[in-house]
Symmetry: D2
Subunit: 242 residues, 4 copies
Amino acid sequence: MKIIVGKDETEMANIAAQHVLSYMYTDKRMNLSITGGTSPRKMYEILVPQVKDKPYFSNVHFYNFDEIPYRKEDREGVTISGLREAFFTPANIPEANIHKLDQYNYQTQDERLKQDGGLDMLILGIGADGHYCGNLPGTTKFGDGTCRVENDQRLKDRILPEFDNVVEDVPEYYVTMGPRSVMAAKNLVLIATGTKKAAIIHRILTGEVDENVPATLITLHPNLTIILDEDAAAEIRKHHVI
Amino acid sequence: MKIIVGKDETEMANIAAQHVLSYMYTDKRMNLSITGGTSPRKMYEILVPQVKDKPYFSNVHFYNFDEIPYRKEDREGVTISGLREAFFTPANIPEANIHKLDQYNYQTQDERLKQDGGLDMLILGIGADGHYCGNLPGTTKFGDGTCRVENDQRLKDRILPEFDNVVEDVPEYYVTMGPRSVMAAKNLVLIATGTKKAAIIHRILTGEVDENVPATLITLHPNLTIILDEDAAAEIRKHHVI
Amino acid sequence: MKIIVGKDETEMANIAAQHVLSYMYTDKRMNLSITGGTSPRKMYEILVPQVKDKPYFSNVHFYNFDEIPYRKEDREGVTISGLREAFFTPANIPEANIHKLDQYNYQTQDERLKQDGGLDMLILGIGADGHYCGNLPGTTKFGDGTCRVENDQRLKDRILPEFDNVVEDVPEYYVTMGPRSVMAAKNLVLIATGTKKAAIIHRILTGEVDENVPATLITLHPNLTIILDEDAAAEIRKHHVI
Amino acid sequence: MKIIVGKDETEMANIAAQHVLSYMYTDKRMNLSITGGTSPRKMYEILVPQVKDKPYFSNVHFYNFDEIPYRKEDREGVTISGLREAFFTPANIPEANIHKLDQYNYQTQDERLKQDGGLDMLILGIGADGHYCGNLPGTTKFGDGTCRVENDQRLKDRILPEFDNVVEDVPEYYVTMGPRSVMAAKNLVLIATGTKKAAIIHRILTGEVDENVPATLITLHPNLTIILDEDAAAEIRKHHVI
């Protein structure tokens, strides 16, 4: 495990972008699973001009690791839409290099990934509750592969903002790579910024591995890099973990 | 994960020996942690003549991953003694290439391994109860690194045969690489033979990840190879896991 | 570079077979280019029973690196025929895992290899004149990729025995992976046995890199393993190269 | 081989800096050999603020690959002095992570590198005459390891500017990693900018491998990345090499 602390969110985003690029500058196929949401926004802003229309990145394939479909299923889901907006579209990534996980194909995701040679890297954020991808406390078990999670009311309330608070759009379920699928990636990169993440970062690096704090598991991956800003690193600094 | 089934114990041992050798035929330092006990006896018999006095294996370093000291601490512990008898001594491995874990240095084991470049491969057996190394049900937690485990009466009874049933030799504790330390190895190889292992092999490959069945965790390692004979594979064959 | 010396031809063949196997025991696609001719016969004898009908080797793909077609082109060429007889047929390698190089497709061989992810390992013999694959002195240049070589009378005489001395079968040309293509493999393994190879082994390990001694180039590959028997190692032992 | 073309010198420098960083963001020891001279100046300017005082780069060790000593040997040589000025000093690289090659230790350089685990990456420039490191046409042979090269008058004239045109400082010899030593690195990165390099870039990528054009050899390395700006790529674009 390597822990890297940037001095602020911008430096963190820059380091994270370099990490992603470091997998792209190769001569063989690279399969990268990347995270949506707000935390990597700056990272994508840095990446876009460096990736856009570069023929030497044609070897790089992208995968989303979870998806929340619209209830009516009349358009692409929340995750892939966000990745398109933040990265794929402005960076002009060819459609052939985008491998969608969605409600229609999640049951074959793990097999397809294996056929494609496995994920070389998966970059993920972490929630204050210890969730990553769609692995929220109380949803998936450590042994689960890519699976479907039924939304109870708590989950529906939680994802409502992703649908601009339009209740009718909130679906009955979502799909996500489970802990087993995520651990199968060759390399994991965890990014976090801000004081709201300081406690959970400290928790996963010092406490027990517990299904109720899902990200505790990924600290057991043999090739994990954690990239933080100083705010997110505040608790581990205070307790001399680093 | 790759599952390899040899037709019998001898073929399994041969395949396991080839696996160990495949890490040794390199031009750089290789750190291998190898298992004692009875299951790998045949593997060591196959390895010894191929390894003995070969200058081209000077790059290979060996580590034991657990140790049960004698109560009086008047000699080396059970694990290293067994490895010496089965492998190090007949194969004439130089002392400088043997890195002992024992009751005196276990607290620095994880740091020393990191300094040495990490374990390239750790080969381990599995108990019918799902234990591996010294991680028995009820002893270590998934998050534990190399640690000391206190022997209650149940554990004392269990390890008594290792001391030729001499009660006075049974110690109050043993040391072991914990789940966190084992997961940090770059590659894991799990070997098992015999019908007595068929149920636990099926269990770890199909059921939940559970601290009470310690080896369920290692099925989440991204580079795991499982080598079985047909007897140990009986249940997973029956249930079409492979 | 790692140099391994077995005590005799049988031990050398065993070590070489283990090398090949070490690339096969993985969970991802492996592309191996293997050598025909007489020197690896024992190696294939050792490999066949270990490879035959093993489902866990379905990830392994085989490539020949040169081909001498029959003049009439009424059957498969000499190299692939020899590999079939010595290995593919007795080991029951599925046709889908055999990737033929021949006179019809040699111009796209390098591009196809790149599309397939490149060669993970290429194992080759060496001639007393320093040739390897079809790179004989005076035929290819260091910078050549896979190419066609025209047979002058000297070459025709030389390959005549490959055609059971039937002059009418000897073709006007052959095809071979050139030095550039061979160097592009991730790992090279060179095998040699017998006193007739002692001088050339010494030559390539000590003298200048020279297109007239083609194998001198491959000593510059960053991942080269040389496997010899004591006879082939006689000169380098005498001159304390090892 | 991967060829990357940045639109101008600045983009090229940025890409090159990212390449160097991609080797640094790891959790294990990394041995990097880096180039002095004027071409990588911008690259170092980009690297310095990202590397300075970062504890997470303590795993990275730096090596120079050639050295021109001052004739009086009263101070460090030209290469290491230039690297200190451009990178080591402003980036505050600890002295323990700087491994000097000089006139006193060049004979053991290759053995020391091997002991250190080999070079993970070597980044080099190229001269219009095809030289790289101290391998100028007519000096070293392809088979040479790290060696000493005697300066004839032509060479003395050539390196005079390195000594601010002070003739008395120009030495009788210099030392350099030879072609064999350079090829032994796990990865090579070649950088070039400007129209003056366009012809030689085209030459090494299309013509024969020739000791009189030293860099033709490194195009045979299995892990080579070439980073250019559009000016340096002009000839290969014109001839549709890329």
